[in-house]
Amino acid sequence: MPFEVYEKETEVDERPFDVGRFRRMLRYLIPYRRRVAAILIAILMSAAVTLFEPYLLGQVVDRGITPRNPTAITQIALLLLGLHLLGWIGNTLRINWMNHVGQSVLFDLRQELFNHIQKLSLRFYDQRPVGKIMSRITSDVNAIAELVNNGLVTIIGQGISIIGITIVMFWLSWQLSLLAFITMPILAIFFNKVRPHIETGWKNVQRTTSNISANTNESVNGIYVTQAFQREVPNFGTFQRLTQHSNDAWMRTIRIEEMVWPVVDIVGVGGTALVVVAGAWLALQGEVTLGLVLAFTGYLWRFWPPISSMSKVYGQALSAMASAERIFEFLDTPAEVADAPHAIDLPPIDGAVQFDHVNFRYDPDQEMVLKKINLAVLPGETIALVGPTGSGKSSMINLLMRFYDPIEGAIRVDGYDLRDVTMTSLRHQMAIVLQDSFLFSGTIAENIRYSTVGASDEAVRRVAEAVHLAPFVDSLPEGYDYNVGERGNRLSVGQRQLVAFARALLADPRVLILDEATSSVDTRTELVIQQAMERLLEGRTAFIIAHRLSTIRHADRILVIENGRIIESGTHEALLARGGRYLDLYRKQWVGQRAA
């Protein structure tokens, strides 16, 4: 894993703050707008404390201490106590509700993202390492949740405090207020200046995090090869570079972000000092009372901490914005292959398959990998695809399963264009056994049942017997409840293939696709399956890709594919008699086979 394949960090992005993206983030609150409204009220309750406390303390001076009235002092103190109790209730409600909203939004966002990527086409997955996709669903979503969970309360709560305090301050003395806020524009300029740096900074941090995630996932999956080839040391070097990069990206961002707080504090104290000076002067002139100056400075003192906290949230919000961009990028990736609006459910099919002038390529700048493929398959026919690696066999299968759509032409099943039917109804009538048989962690039974949830034990056993998996399963003490481990790694590769085969058969598909389905199965078992094949395929249309021509000899029709074209087509005998490419392949193989 050389370092170069990892995502690079970006330059500072000077685009203005993306209000649209921010609004889109806020939209996730809409389902909880009632809760949010209730939270607002709760916040108001706690804000009351912040708002009235300095005033009441000022009153202690003006009504209690100065006129030497102990009863007033006690009364005001009791009032203050009531206020704090109110604040306590407000806080309890707020935190409860806010967490509820925050966790719900997190749940929704994560689920939406997950649901969406389920719809995305294989191309999406082909281009992205597993670890990177995961990183968006875990760590990027967390960054947004963090903002909703803590940030939002801070923004709303402190925002209310700030507004309230501002009003009170203006009400107390508008001259002093204006003076106090004279330093505000400095902050505005400062915030504007640092925003792009912080936002880009967090984006880069997320990138480096997702690089680490991608590398970890790959390292774990490739550990066998790594250990076999003694690559631990260089791999560690790559990983260290990635963590160091992450470290650097983080520090670059934090160096700027951490400037926000001190700057806010300095500006705040500057304003306060101005007010003290001016207030003292006004008090000396007798224009205002001492109590007012004290109350005013008291408010001013409470005015800046919320701004400070909000400036903390500012960093969090920018980090969330950076993550939101990455999340929305996924959400906005359209499913390239999706159900058309007019798509109907494919009725039960007979299994006639037609490729009608199909052109296909994976990349626009690539040569066509399938060129004007024409093929009509009758229901129940068994079609074998042969040809060198990379000739287009797997691409045909990918199109038939509608993992991709053709560039030109159409594929029809029982006369229905695949693009006119829903994918679920289509794929429920097809089944595929892939070269790499991926199993999920869980029991053998669960894996077989993956294609048909709710199938009876009897049905599971029947397909296991059909593919000759049953003798092995019966030899296990746990039987069908044997846990196959992640990816099925507690089974041998051949056993995995058999489970995958059973899984496909259980679906009772009308169209069955076998892509080197028994390449790792031992000869005897393969032969047992071969012999059973006629029965297994009865009434189904089948497409078989196999390198060993002996396994496809009995196919109804053999297609020789080369360079994206069908160059020969016919039965085994006919093709041999024709003396073309098939004979050539057959002969070479024969040499190989007989040579043993």
Binding site: I137, A214, E218, I223, Q227, V276, F440, G485, Q495
Partner: protein, 609 residues
Amino acid sequence: MQTYKRLLSYILPYKGRYTLAMALVVLSVLCELLTPWLFGRAVDLGVAGGDMQLVLLYSGLLIVAQLVRSGFHYMQWIVQHQAGQNIVRDIRDQLYDKLQLLSQSFYRDMPTGQIMSRMTSDVESVQEYMGWGLLIQFAAITSFVGTAIALFFVDGPLTSVLLLPLLPLAVVVYFFDKHIGAMWKAIRDQMGQLTTVLQENISGVRVVKAFASQALEIDKFRGRNGEQRDLNLKRAKVEAWSFPAMDLMVGLIFVLLAWYGGLRVMNGETTLGTFFAYQWYLWGIIWPVRFGGWIISMMREAMGAAPRLFELLDRDPQIADRPDARPLPRVTGKIEFRNVSFAFPDDPSRNVLDGFNLTIMPGEVVAILGETGTGKSSIFNLMLRFYDVTEGAILIDGHDLREVTLESLRRQMAIVPQESFLFSATVADNIAYGHPEATREQIVAAAKLAHAHEFIVALDQGYESIVGERGIGLSGGQKQRMALARALLTEPRILLLDEATSAVDTETEHNIQIALEEVMAHRTSLIIAQRLSTIKHADRVVVIEAGRVAESGTHDSLMAHDGAYARLYALQYREQDEAEQEALAAIGREHYDDVDEQLTDPHLELAGR
């Protein structure tokens, strides 16, 4: 506590930084205390005393104090973040290092998603505390204690009364701390499960799509996602009951200030300036309490995550060099299996190999045949010492594998595994995976031997094309050929081919076999194959049944023996013979002769070796 201590031990390499950061914290807290004092002086001496000059002086000092404080503050955070980040990097690197050492048996049990969640979100939880919480915690304690002490000097009696609510506060904190830890642990553990479901889903996307089981997958994920939400809500509930209670206790301090403080001022026991200064001073007590709950929560989260990291770090690789392990000298390639039994550690009752005996001479090419699941791949895993034998011993050139270093052992072997894994890297890097210093010529030569060169040069960027997870898709056969090239490039003394050409088309397979003949002449080779065609160059065929050698010998001797091999041969060629007859009939004598010419009497060849 053990966990906490161990977490803190990561600070040691950065103790200088942490000390600096803490010194800065103390300084900035002092400045913080200075600000209200200056403020109080400005009010008491300046405003109340009607002295504008003093007002100006103290206001000016106020700004200076703030500048200094902000400066300290900034430096403190930068130092702290840097140290925290370094610690996190250290933990991540250690984890990765450990992951590479851990044996295959570990990977058999541990889902990738669990590893991923530890390397990412658990580490992030620790990072938050180490790079953030820890210093805030220190600052909070310093501020709290410092302020309290300062206040006792300002007005002892008033302060004593004001701090009374701290007693019930301590009770709340105690109960909060007691409950929140377990909840965080549950959340972190569940996150691991959620990540596992996610990881499997994405890795298995083809199967998910092929069986249109998105709905099932969505349900599966929704379950985990919902659990995560519910656990977090449970945690939030504890917070929701504790945090406001803590806040209330702090609020009571203000109530007492208004009441008792007011009375004291009125009675002339303290000054008005003190009364006001208390408003500001008290923030030094209030914010630590307000943040307190949050800091505790953060600390407990880190302590919920840390054991998951330590658990990985504490795993001992089951396969490791013995203390007295010697490097294995360059071997001739004699391999002996002496009465080897093997069962997977997680399935000890089921012997995969059972009394397995086999001796392979240097330079021999041995084919291993056997049914699916009879332990063929396990033989290779044992030879590479991915697992240790349960009984018996494996010797190479007379050295027990357990007595030599892993590195020297594995360096002399190369395997083409059954499932070819390629890394996200260029074709050239992948081929040179086991021999990173290889020149381009060597790489190309290996690729040519494996018959991979032709398709590689046809790729858009040739040897520089990126393959693997993020690269272009290769077919199974192409991947296998690259894996073969990768193995050949290391020039191993012992070559292990585990169905190395199962996905390669027959024509290419045939060509590869011809190329391999020369390669194998100089080294010991073991070939696992299903297809007899793949093993035609073998000197000897070993048939395995139920974890033992059932038969061993040359093709001819085994055919004569008329046992398992002969049956297998018959099975595989019965159809072939039929085909031959058909072909004969279909294509006529003329073509058949062409075929015949290419047959160089392989039986004799095999027998003669």
